[in-house]
Amino acid sequence: MTRRHAVYLFVALSLASLTMRAGDKPLVVGMIPDAGATQVSIQEKEPLKNYLSQHLGGPVNLIIPTNYNATVEALGNGSLDFAYLGGLTYVKARKQYGVIPLVQRTSDMEFHSLFITGNPQIKTLADLKGKMFAFGDINSTSGHLMPYLELKQAGIDVEKDFKYRYSGSHPATAKAVESGAVDAGSIDESVYNAMIAEGKLDKTKVHVFYTSKPFLDYVWVARKDVSKADQEKFAKAFTDLQEGKDEQILGILRGKKFVQASDDRYETLRKVAEELKMF
């Protein structure tokens, strides 16, 4: 194949791929991988996908990127229309790509991060000195940002006083603590409680030894170019969810009730993120 042929081939392929996109495009919904990112975790969310496509009146694709950064970038490059973000990822996506906050769980308004351990000798944050610690994803609010703040306020220098790693997701943190790979870790309260309730975590091996002060966390957003009508339909799909009626969907979303979200509420979080040099 000569260079000219290669060029023709490339042009033909790109043209063909452009024409392919002209059809009825499904809306793409992304979720940060706070609870894992495998085929299995996508299959578990199938009912949510079906529910959304009913309410949006068209096909919906559900994607879970491998990390938080990729989820935000996907909102930036247009491969996602809606996304489920954490507090910290939200303020970043807002600043860089002007995403629009839509809805959040009532529990997100007063969210907590839990410090868990399997080691009975660890009773306070100060006992973490010299230990192995796991944060969640580096961009996680309840797994990294807020716990980092709590540790700092307790007089622990994260860079010097202990060894730490980023587990990548909340279930990973829980499992790392349960298995003893790390001495302790910080985790999202809703993920922890769900894992205990479903028996995915051994209650005899892990316990909570400290609960953070409340903060604002997760939110569902729209890319800024998504039509107003689609935004409203999407928000309504969530605010319509009722306890006792939509248990399956609410279970997947680990919530009870959804309310309108607004950007001003995130001011405090922005300041914390800036102060800790994560923003």
């Binding site: 194949m1 000569t2 260079r3 290669a6 081939l9 392929l13 063909a16 791929s17 996109r21 991988p33 894992g36 990112a37 495998t38 085929q39 299995v40 975790s41 299959q43 994607i63 990127p65 491998t66 990390n67 938080y68 950064n69 990729a70 935000v72 970038e73 996907a74 930036g76 490059n77 247009g78 491969s79 970043k92 860089q96 192995m132 994803d137 580096i138 961009n139 060894k163 730490y164 790693r165 980023y166 587990s167 990548g168 997701s169 279930p171 990973a172 499992k175 790392a176 298995s179 003893g180 790979a181 790390v182 040099k277 994560m278």
Partner: protein, 464 residues
């Protein structure tokens, strides 16, 4: 030793693997995607790489600049390349395919360019004297001369691309890599084991195909057709040019915050520790194992299983070894070094065994005629003769391992790679570029040092 203890207590969580058909059936999608990413990328990199190599081989104007550019591209870790392509074309196999296509296109161009430059000048000169264009001369004069070497290298590259398609999956570029990372992150180890076994089987099938192509070059046509279909299947769904340009702008100027500059020596030290440690460990393991795997030295009951062990170690990319060790044994350079060590043992083992097998038989037979014991014949006859090629393979691998050290660094082994990845994840793209430039300089330096050593030892670039 804390991490070694951890390693053993966690190892049992991997057994038994989940062999339910429903799981294996569900994973056929990402597995196929991996094959498509690799095959599609190879069509691009083979065709583009070959053209570039011919330009270099024909010494067309600008070919020196082109060569330098290709060497540079090769010094960017493929994981970083994949991150950039995820920005450009979104999450999915398209990003993975393009990243590998660019990386291996450059590799193909450079290595085959080297092959052409060192080809016999006779036929080219006689063709050129007829007055045809220099590219045509290169096409008809150089290509046939090096066809066999090209096939060998192409097959080797295909295998590498297959592994690379697993690596890029770690950052969301699709395929079985995404699944392996996902299950490891979920501590869902029984599924991880299944996926790894599927990967090993896939690469074994691949090796067989590559062997067949080397025997019957015409089969290559089938691969090209398959590759084009795959490339079509993985075609990017979009090109977010303005978004990517925006992000590239955010990278400039590269900067390292003042409070982080003091960390640089430690970070560099860790990366070198991973690369040196990994290579040294592999040499240590592979020397006895390589001898045990040599068909002219070891009996069949020994060399057969040892060879399969090499294939297993080699089939699992450094990143996957790294992810496993980091999750099980903890973060830090020790896990990174062991990850490189395990993978490189597989590589060295095979190469060392082949070096021993390729030794000229006469001197050894002479020694054997004295009636000495087998072990003495091996240590005084075979091994000294096999040593030079073994040393060359080791040098090459060390250069590769510096690149690999930054990649396992990204997934938790620390060093420059870790700093690069954290900066990228936190959207500090200007810092990411700074660390990327440092990585790039490090790899280029290793490449250059290697070239100097080879020149001094008067060895030409062999195919490994």
């Amino acid at each position: 030793m804390h991490w070694l203890m951890n390693l053993f207590t966690q190892l049992r969580l991997f057994f038994p693997p989940d062999h339910s058909w429903s799981f294996i059936w569900a994973e056929r999608v990402p597995l196929l995607e991996t094959v498509e990413i690799a095959a599609g990328a190879m069509v691009f990199s083979l065709s583009v790489g070959l053209v570039l190599a011919l330009i270099i081989g024909a010494r067309l104007p600008g070919s020196r600049l082109l060569y330098a550019a290709l060497v540079s591209v090769r010094a960017i870790p493929d994981l970083t390349m994949a991150i950039l392509f995820v920005m450009l074309v979104g999450i999915g196999p398209g990003a993975g395919m393009l990243a590998i296509a660019v990386y291996y296109g450059a590799a193909m161009g450079k290595v085959c360019g080297d092959l052409f430059v060192s080809a016999d000048p006779g036929p080219v000169e006689s063709l050129a004297s007829t007055g045809t264009g220099s590219f045509t001369v290169a096409f008809y004069g150089l290509l046939p001369l090096r066809l066999k070497d090209l096939l060998t290298y192409g097959a080797y590259d295909f295998e590498c691309a297959m592994r690379a398609s697993v690596i890029v999956g770690a950052v969301g570029a699709g395929g079985i890599g995404t699944e392996i990372v996902g299950t490891i992150n979920n501590y869902d180890y029984s599924h991880t084991t299944t996926l790894i076994l599927m990967l090993v089987a896939l690469i074994a099938v691949f090796d067989l195909c590559a062997l067949a192509v080397r025997k019957y070059p015409r089969l290559l046509l089938l691969f090209v057709i398959g590759g084009i279909i795959s490339a079509w299947e993985c075609r990017p769904q979009m090109f977010a040019w303005s978004h990517t340009l925006d992000n590239l702008r955010k990278m400039w100027p590269p900067v390292i915050p003042r409070e982080r500059i003091g960390d640089l020596p430690r970070l560099l030290g860790e990366t070198l520790e991973i690369a040196f440690g990994g290579t040294a460990l592999a040499v240590l393991f592979a020397l006895p194992l390589g001898a045990m795997g040599a068909r002219n030295l070891a009996p069949a009951w020994m060399h057969f299983p040892v060879r399969r062990l090499f294939e297993f170690l080699r089939a699992i990319p450094e990143v996957v070894w790294g992810l496993l060790l980091v999750t099980m044994a903890g973060i830090g350079p020790a896990s990174g070094a062991l990850a490189l060590g395990l993978h490189s043992t597989g590589v060295f083992g095979k190469l060392y065994a082949e070096s021993i097998e390729n030794v000229q038989p006469e001197p050894v037979m002479a020694l054997a005629a004295t009636g000495g014991p087998r072990i003495a014949i091996a240590s005084f006859g075979l091994l000294p003769l096999a040593f030079p090629p073994m040393a060359i393979h080791t040098l090459f691998r060390f250069e590769w391992n510096i690149r690999a050290a930054t990649i396992v660094g990204m997934i938790g082994a620390g060093g420059i790679g870790g700093a690069l990845y954290n900066a990228q994840q936190l959207f500090f793209y200007d810092q990411m570029l700074a660390y990327l430039l440092i990585t790039w300089a490090l790899v280029m330096l290793a490449d250059w040092a290697n070239g100097q050593l080879r020149k001094r030892w008067k060895v030409t670039e062999g195919l490994i």
